[in-house]
Each structure stands twice: as structure tokens, then as C-alpha cells.
């Protein structure tokens, strides 16, 4: 069993901080000459999680550490504390966020190519202000567009530990497999092969073609 003092400090710190805390951050709260073992902090976390089992709160590990949150089963009465409905996010914002989350690092131009529509600058600004997204560099192409990626705050907000915890993307079906059955009444027309090759071959990692099309965006 962990020392009661260690467990009490860990619990109090998690409740006082208002943000997730890592084991290292918890460790550093202790006085230099009375530092517990890191293992006893981990033990305290395990014990707290077990104690909360029968309670209205739970210990959750998210991207930037541990936090204590209200248990889902009790969220309805607790949500009555606030009369205002929480903000809804527009589809445009969510689609942009999804593209950044699954395709990071990604430029605004690449987002626009996939969505087939211009991205409202307000959307990127909102995502940056919420600190869900940040600029992590520039793509070394003309114009040096900013590369966008998600942050730990994004994962924390959605209660995720890592990006891998995001829902899996839908499968892409391959039109090529259908090619045999195609029946064109007046024969098959080929698009400029080179052009399509270039367009389709640009994204090997997932086998998903990024719809970058000069003819469309140009």
C-alpha cells in the first residue's frame, strides 16, 4: 500500500490543478528531501482509481497525464449545474480538424484539396486559439505553406491518450477492382494517363490518393 501522505498529495494535486498531471509533475511536488519513490506515486494512482470505482468520479489517463473527472453515468445530473448548452462546432470546423488529426502534418491547401472547398481562415484561427492545432513547420514548396498538426490539448479535450485512440478511418474501396465489370457503351476513354498517375500516386503511405488536382484547384 502506498503511504497515505503520498496518496493524499497526489489526489489533492490532481483536484487542484485543473489540468492533467504526469507522474513526473506529481513527483516534483514533493519536498527535495522527502521525495517518495516514483513507484509509490504510481501505486497511489492505482489505489485512487480503485477507490473511485464505486464513486461519481474516475481517474483517467489522457495525453498529458492523469486527471480526475466526473463519471459518465453521473454526468446528466451534474450537467444541470450549467444552464447554457455547450458550444457546437460547425461541420466545416470538424472536417478540418479531422483532416489535421488523421493526416498531420498537413497544409491548408491540402485540406482544401480533399474537402474540395476553400477553408475559412476563421476556422484555422479558432483551432489555433483553442490550442487544438499548432503550426509545426513549413512545407518546402513555393509559398512555404504552414504545416498543421494537433496538440496534446486536442487529445486531452477529447479524452484520448494518443492519436491511435481516434476512431479508425473508413475503408476505401478500389474502383480498379470494379474495372473488369465496367461496360462503357461507347468504349472507355482514358484521361491523360500521366496526369492521373501523378495525382493518384502522391500518397503512398495509406494508398489514399490526396485529391490534388491542378485542373480543379487551378
Amino acid at each position: 500500500m502506498s503511504e497515505p501522505y503520498v496518496k493524499n498529495v497526489v489526489e489533492a494535486a490532481l483536484l487542484a490543478s485543473g489540468r492533467p498531471l504526469t507522474v513526473t509533475e506529481l513527483f516534483e511536488l514533493f519536498d527535495e528531501f522527502a521525495k517518495p519513490e516514483r513507484a509509490s506515486i504510481e501505486m497511489a494512482l492505482t489505489e485512487l482509481a480503485a477507490e473511485y470505482e464505486s464513486r461519481g468520479i474516475e481517474l483517467r489517463e489522457v495525453a498529458s497525464g492523469y486527471r480526475i473527472q466526473i463519471r459518465d453515468s453521473i454526468a446528466t445530473p451534474v450537467s444541470r449545474l450549467w444552464s447554457e448548452r455547450p458550444a457546437k462546432y460547425s461541420r466545416a470546423l470538424l472536417e478540418t480538424l479531422a483532416l489535421i488529426a488523421y493526416r498531420q502534418p498537413i497544409t491548408r491547401g491540402e485540406i482544401e484539396d480533399i474537402r474540395g472547398v476553400a477553408v475559412n481562415p476563421n476556422i484555422i484561427r479558432t483551432l489555433l486559439e483553442r490550442n487544438w492545432v499548432r503550426v509545426i513547420g513549413h512545407r518546402e514548396v513555393p509559398g512555404r505553406p504552414e504545416l498543421l498538426a494537433t496538440t496534446k490539448d486536442f487529445l486531452d479535450y477529447f479524452g484520448l491518450k494518443t492519436l491511435d485512440a481516434l476512431p479508425t478511418l473508413a475503408e476505401l474501396k478500389d474502383i480498379e477492382s470494379l474495372g473488369v465489370q465496367l461496360d462503357f457503351s461507347s468504349g472507355v476513354a482514358l484521361p491523360e494517363a500521366a496526369e492521373l498517375q501523378e495525382i493518384m500516386g502522391s500518397d503512398e503511405d495509406e494508398g489514399v490518393p490526396v485529391a490534388v488536382s491542378g485542373s480543379v484547384s487551378g
Binding site: 487542484a16 479531422a98 477529447f158 484521361p191
Partner: protein, 293 residues
């Protein structure tokens, strides 16, 4: 957006598939074109347009609404429907995003390619479907459209998840001290030694840290004024090496004038004590004190 919204907007329109059936029969004549002066409130058209996230979204809607296979789009039909909406919106003099017109051009191009005679196959003998790129774009877009819905469904802070917090009424001052990495200190030492070496004109010797540490230990044991028996400074369990280190440390302490070795008479046990202040130095010290006072 939600589909019901779109449907509501659509119901205000001469929906595309309605065209298959005569729009009306007037004087026995089938009228399949809506009257040009049919009034649709521009706001409704605006709502309709805003319900879509762009041309891909609109196309996807047309395909899904008719349960068409995305891999085998009847391109002529879909193009016709798409263009109808575009025409209608232009008739309404609504400002149409350029992307919608580009898509219209792309659809028209695909349609015409589908109609052209089949050109010779490429080297692989494979035929590329003119719709391939469009299908891929639609699929990729749909994929992220769903991902956005999935992300929206994840329980999130503020809406579904509430953080437990307790008040810290009074923050205590808890100064935390700067940290030093050992390496930082070692680098500092290396520098200072190198610097000192440039000015060094005196003898060079190899420092023995064990001896230095032992010197500190011996001095620490001599804090009081008592005499310590020389032999007690040695710990036989340390072995020959340990004894030697202690011995060298004692010699160094004596050389530096930090301790005195005393012996009452010949062959009597040796004792060690703190160096006794030299009378003159003490006097000098007193003088210095007087001066500063």
C-alpha cells in the same frame, strides 16, 4: 449539418428526380421544366447551399440520396442533376463559390470522355475509368466527413466530460530551487581548470579525489578541540588501498597546515588535532578585526 435540414430545403425545389415525371400537364402537354418565374425565396436557396460543405458534399448527397453505388456512378445522370442545381442557383443570382463551377466543368469533361470512342490501351493493357479520380475524391472526402462525425461523437470536455476540481484556498509559498545537471558542473570545472592552466607557473600534480574526500572526512572528525588517536583514523576493513588513501590524506593535511600530528614522547601513540592557530596570525586577525571596526 443534418440531412433533415437539407431535405427541408430540397422540398422547396424542383428536385432533380421529379424531372423524370412530367412536372405538370397543361392543356394536354407535358411540361417537364419548372416555370422560370416559379418563386423560391432566395433565403431558402441560401440555406440549401449552406447545408453543403462544397461540391463534393453536394455530389455525395445526390449519390447517397438515390442509393447509387459510389464505385459505379451513372455519370450522365448525376451530372445532369448537379448542373440543374447549379443552374438554379445561378438563376437565383446567388453568389456561387468557384468550386461548384469547377466541379461542373469536371463532370462535363468526364461525361464527354465516357462518350468518346475508346482509345488504345496503355502499356499495361489496363483501362482507366474516366470516373476514377472523381470516385477517389468522393471516397476520400466521405471518409473524412465520417471521421468528423466520429470526432464529434467522442465524449469531450465541456459538453460531456467534466473535470473534478477542488479549491486551493491559499497558495503556500513553496520556493523551488534551480536544478543543476552534474554534467553542467563538470563542464564548468573543465573550463575553470583549463583557464587556470594557462596561468599556472607552479608545479603540476595529479589530483586524487579519493584523497580529497578523505581529507574532508578527517577534518570533519576533528571539529572539536580533542585529540584523535592516529590509528583510529584508519579503517582496516578498507584494505591496503584504503589505508594508503587515508595516510596520503593525513600527510596532505599536515603539509597544508590543516592538522598537527603530536606525540608526547618517543614511541608514544601518535595523535592528530586541528592545527593550532599561530599566535602572530591570531594577532593579525585581531588587528584586521579592529581595522574593520
Amino acid at each position: 449539418m443534418s440531412i433533415p435540414d437539407t431535405d427541408a430545403a430540397m422540398s422547396l425545389l424542383p428536385a432533380a428526380e421529379v424531372r423524370e415525371i412530367p412536372f405538370a400537364i397543361v392543356d394536354g402537354e407535358h411540361i417537364s421544366e419548372p416555370p422560370r418565374d416559379l418563386y423560391i425565396p432566395p433565403q431558402a436557396m441560401q440555406v440549401f447551399l449552406e447545408a453543403f460543405e462544397g461540391p463534393l458534399d453536394l455530389l455525395l448527397y445526390l449519390i447517397r440520396r438515390q442509393n447509387l453505388d459510389i464505385l459505379n456512378i451513372p455519370i450522365a445522370e448525376v451530372t445532369r442533376q448537379y448542373l440543374e442545381y447549379i443552374d438554379l442557383m445561378q438563376d437565383m443570382e446567388l453568389e456561387l463559390a468557384g468550386e461548384y463551377l469547377l466541379m461542373a466543368a469536371m463532370l462535363a469533361e468526364i461525361k464527354s470522355r465516357m462518350l468518346l470512342p475508346k482509345p488504345p490501351s496503355d502499356a499495361n493493357g489496363e483501362e482507366e475509368d474516366p470516373r476514377a479520380e472523381l470516385v477517389r475524391r468522393l471516397q476520400v472526402y466521405e471518409r473524412f466527413k465520417r471521421a468528423a462525425e466520429d470526432i464529434d461523437a467522442i465524449p469531450r470536455l465541456e459538453r460531456d466530460v467534466f473535470v473534478a476540481e477542488a479549491e486551493l484556498v491559499e497558495r503556500k509559498l513553496a520556493p523551488s530551487l534551480p536544478d543543476i545537471a552534474l554534467k553542467e558542473m563538470l563542464l564548468a570545472f573543465k573550463d575553470v581548470i583549463q583557464r587556470a592552466a594557462m596561468f599556472a607557473t607552479h608545479h603540476v600534480s595529479r589530483e586524487r579525489l579519493s584523497v580529497r574526500g578523505r581529507m574532508t572526512d578527517i577534518l570533519a572528525r576533528l571539529q572539536g578541540d580533542e585529540l584523535l588517536e592516529f590509528a583510529t583514523l584508519f579503517d582496516v576493513s578498507e584494505g591496503r588501498m584504503g589505508v594508503t588513501v587515508t595516510f596520503v590524506a593525513i600527510l596532505e593535511l599536515v603539509r597544508e597546515g590543516l592538522i598537527d600530528l603530536v606525540q608526547a614522547e618517543i614511541f608514544a601513540p601518535l595523535h592528530v588535532c586541528k592545527a593550532i592557530p599561530h599566535p602572530e596570525w591570531s594577532a593579525a586577525n585581531d588587528d584586521a578585526t579592529d581595522v574593520t571596526n
